[in-house]
Amino acid sequence: MATPILSPIRTLSRNAPRPQFLVATVSASRRALHNTPSPKATTTDIAPPATSPSNKPTTTTPSTPLTQPQKDFLDSALRVNQAGELAAVLIYTAQTPPLLRSHPHLRPLMKHMHDQEAGHFTYFNSLLHKHRIRPTAMYPIWHVAASALGWGTAIMGREAAMACTEAVETEIGSHYNEQVRVLLDWADKMERKGETLGEELMGLIGELRRIRDEELEHLDHAVENDSKEARPYELLTNVIRGGCRTAIWISEKV
């Protein structure tokens, strides 16, 4: 299960001269997953492979229509994901200039993380349009809040910025994990009845897993760049994580 976490790194290192931050990523990833306060982040990595859609290659269309609660779930889940990725892009965008000023060696790392988030954002934007889901009404507010958070933590220094990344990615990682778990649960139940979830949702599960792994990779990078040294670490991360959870809760509703 380590492969999906590593693969983006491998592609990156093929393209670029190996930057400093990639050294010892593997050990860092182990460390990070154990150090993070939320045990949720690791759990589905053990659970999911139970369902393998690959042994039924002909299943392209779903056998039964989605129920209303399922539609509601997808509606709010995708809306939250889009809002989350918007915030992530803005946080990295706002963090970059003040951070690079004092730590120019972080440039490749920041660019790498920002570009991945931008990719996720585009993906969820297209999904929202395709499935006709309304974006969150708090869009302009998240826009300002995320920029302020990114800029503010970057001003506080490298450690604080990384602590911010750590807190945000921990929340986002476990959030994606929960979604993947729900979708796999549906797939599992339908498979037992001899039905299939359909190509669209299976594809979504795959994408969600990939995105989750990339978010957790950012978490590793943050821990590696001394996010734990931030002062006051506990206060900062808890405030940010609380904020993330509140934002997720609000975006699910409006």
Partner: protein, 255 residues
Amino acid sequence: MPPIRLTRSLLGTFQTASPRSTATLKQRCCYHSSQYSQPPPFAPAESAILSAAISHVPNVGFTIDALKLGARDAGYLDASTNLFPRGVFDLINYHLVTQRLALKDTVQFPTEGENGKKLGTGVKIRTLALARLRANEPVVHKWQEALAIMAQPTYVPPSLAELARLSDEMWYLAGDKSVDGSWYTKRASLSAIYSATEVFMTQDTSRNFVDTEQFLDARLSDGMKLGSTFGALSAWTDYTVHSAVNVLRSKGMRI
């Protein structure tokens, strides 16, 4: 207004919203997917009665009589109008829903590249709005009755929800892909423009509704002007803030 209708409408006002109306409000949300076939919006019996009733509207208007005649035509008893707890509003709602869903079939845009240049979203929105207004043509002389019923307090929320769905449908069919804050402003402004034009159309006596068309064009161009002003303003603010921050950074301020 005759006294009987007045009491009925007052009763309607104080009626608690029926479970059906909450159901229609709920179906507004949603994950839409071409992989799943959409269920028909009305049950077969309802659909049979309502579609027959609509054909009587040009003569008898949006009244309970139209519903009764419709039920008779479809081979049901007069009493079967009890299927519709909201009475005439259900008939109006049927018209609104079916005409909204018909839009995607009545308006076909040429695929891009067919005649060289792409149709702009503005042109598409105009075409869609006109097509939807044209669909009111057969009943337009009775439409004020419908508007009055929709304006009753009990029916305002479902009517507004339907208006929102209509404008969402138009933006979707026009191929608008924005999923940011403008998603809301676009839908709100189109709803306002469309409903204003609809009211205007009920009083329009010009041939082939030329005046309505002009009215719509004027409102749309107002809307666009407003939109582009806001766009320019926010772009300007964005630019100014960024350059101010960059100037401060170049002066050595650690921000």
